[in-house]
Amino acid sequence: MENSRRHFLKRTCALVAGASVYPLSRNDANAETDIETNDIKYAMLHDETKCIGCNACVDACREVNQVPEGVSRLSIERSEPYGEYPDQFYHFTRHSCEHCEAAPCVTVCPTGAAFIDKETGIVAVNADRCVGCLYCIAACPYEVRFINPVTKAADKCDFCRETNLKQGKQPACVEACPTKALVFGNLKDPKSELVTLLKANPTKRSKLDLGTRPKLFRIKAKEGEIIL
């Protein structure tokens, strides 16, 4: 009796350990091959030196993607006026989904409603499958996800995957920008405007230390102050 119990415990421990490690290894292997096989990886560049903070992108996004009032997929954050009068200026920062390569929202989603589109690298939401547990909203380091009050599902920027992109157009925000501060394109196409700009300019991505590998690049405006 004692002996069989010990054997049993040993075997179950081995089984549990094996079962818990197996899916992790398989998933990593998949990710590796996917990166090599597809040839589209969409990304965006926000040139903060060109942005004038007009919010045309925000309005265009709301209209095209029918984002209800009270929530938004995209916002432009304006920080303090810097410098002395009359030499004053603002900083504008785009606040929207950063389409991480290693997206925490996709990792934590229990039903697979949050997913990375393998064809395009876009992080998207399958609203039908979402149960609204809020796990992705809590897990997103960029705090860009929200519950859509109409569908009751998690929602966020998907580079207009369901709207403009499907019709062969650029994302709504890019089309609306009067100063061409937003550039959308394919990272795997070396001749694209996006890649050319990324190679020619120093860019930043936020919270890289979390290992999320975001695909929203920023050309920073000149520094306004010393922050220690």
């Binding site: 992790l24 229990p110 149960v131 547990c133 809020l134 809590a138 380091p141 599902a153 919270k207």
Partner: protein
Amino acid sequence: MSAFHFDTLVWHWPIAIYLFLAGVSAGAMFFAVLLKHVCLKDKAYLSGFVQAACIVAAISVLAGLGVLVLDLTKPFDFWKILVFYNPTSVMSMGVIILMLYQVLMYAWIAITFQKPINDFCKNRFPIVGKLTSMLQRYEAGITGLLVIFSVSLGAYTGFLLSAQPHFPMWNTGVLPLLFLVSGLSSGAAASLLGGVLLKGNPNGAEVHFIHKIEIPLILAEMLLMFTFFMGLVFSGGQSKVAALTALGEGFWGLVFWFGIMGLGLSAPLTMNLFMTTTSKRKFSYVAGTACLSLLGVILLRNFILYTGQMTVS
């Protein structure tokens, strides 16, 4: 920043209640198994404490899941979580653990209370007797798996939070251990409280047994708490900010020092040591200590849930 409303808050108190109930269930089942196999053997079903532990474990896990489902934005779509799985999601793995845990729990309860169940069903549903004796044959296996799954359930509630990279207070390996140990001690407290309420003898062998385990458990909990916060402070940056915000002045600092460290840990520890030295245990002592322990664990879950979301990295 107010204690219950701030910008970065996503998960509210129902989640803390769920974390608490899942921990209580895991702990109660763990102690029910221990009581039966170490202390009471075949007479386990007669003990008020084992009965209480089984009732508490079964009800609290169901109540916890109920709270969780009602807290979804689409409660009627909860079945999708049972149909679609994501191996990288702690929540999804937790669903599997919760389901298997419940199956094993009912099987173990059926084996342990075989005699009263068989007596009750002998003339009415004779098939039940066959079922319980079939389960009886796999008792060793079911018990072993149940212990593994109850420990997994207790730790899972911590992993659920620690899987989120930008809350530095959650994103640590100590949190699952802290939740596991405090979950076990809340399960022990719930079994003791239920046991004395079900007319169990407050000076019985079960109480002596549980108290003997509870003292090192509380000490381990304090040690883990210390390690948890020292780890955050030494990590520096936002982790340090998170620890100091949580422990400093204000509502949650008060909850931590007075509610959790004082009422929830130090008071039960003192009373347990006192009851170990004096020979006789009374109803009021056992029930009072258990209530304090439970209060401490509820406060701990809320404290970690809210203060964890206050600081982001």
